[in-house]
């Protein structure tokens, strides 16, 4: 069964702390994504990566950075957490085989971060 695993389901951090959110996928997917989800705002793309060591900004990258040293792992980093980063964070992966794939996004179960 395909799987995207996020390291922590629930985290509580203090303002100013550095926060790491880890995501691992076992499907050999090229693409990996970080979204945040807030009530009434849907899912918003923070960063995505289409290959190892490659990254591109999404719609709301401010206050975040990412790291992709290995194909299966994509980390989201909050250098100095702030209260407005309290949210549900969702990692996803996808692949595309020309002419065959739907580009389906596979999501993890999410990490609910609270910043006090």
């Amino acid at each position: 069964d395909v799987k995207v695993t996020q390291s922590s389901r629930y985290l509580v951090k203090r303002t100013g702390e550095k926060v790491f959110l880890e995501c691992v996928q076992d499907m050999d997917h090229e693409n990996m994504f970080w979204y945040r989800q807030d009530p009434g705002l849907g899912l918003r793309l923070i960063y995505f990566s289409y290959d190892v060591k490659m990254k591109e900004k999404g719609d709301i990258p401010e206050g975040y950075s990412v790291s992709r040293e290995k194909k299966e792992r994509f980390s989201l980093i909050l250098e100095s957490a702030s209260t407005n980063q309290t949210s549900m964070y969702l990692c996803a992966s996808s692949s595309y085989k020309r002419g065959a794939d739907t580009g389906e996004l596979f999501f993890g179960e999410g990490s609910r971060l609270t910043v006090l």
């Binding site: 793309l45 995505f48 289409y50 591109e56 996803a92 580009g103 996004l105 999501f107």
Partner: protein
């Protein structure tokens, strides 16, 4: 990027057929229409994808008219477990296309006994 409009919420009863319509007036020629389902405290899950006419799988059907400016997700004989948020997405397929896909606020479907 094609923006989608769908109802904020819908209610129905067990055993009924539910149809959720999505508007996407500025859909592009190479855009596909994809629907995801999300349960509370879980990530979204792919349900169905189509380009035109009708697509059916074991979960749902997707109806797309000739002008492709709207689409309708049809859930046959819903049960309580179909209570979820349903997202309509429009975008191209391709190795980096997922970055161009926009999730709106979705439709919150509530099924009652």
């Amino acid at each position: 990027l094609a923006k989608t409009t769908q109802p904020i919420s819908m209610d129905s009863y067990e055993g009924q057929e539910v149809n959720i319509t999505c508007s996407h007036n500025n859909i592009a020629t190479n855009d596909y229409i994809t629907w995801y389902q999300q349960f509370p405290s879980q990530g979204p899950r792919f349900i169905i994808q189509g380009y035109k006419t009708k697509v059916t799988n074991e979960v749902a059907s997707l109806f797309i008219p000739a002008d492709r400016k709207s689409s309708t997700l049809s859930l046959p004989r819903v049960s309580l477990s179909d209570t979820a948020v349903y997202y309509c997405l429009v975008g191209p397929r391709g190795y980096s296309s997922a970055s161009k896909i926009i999730f709106g606020s979705g439709t919150r479907l509530s099924i009652r006994p």
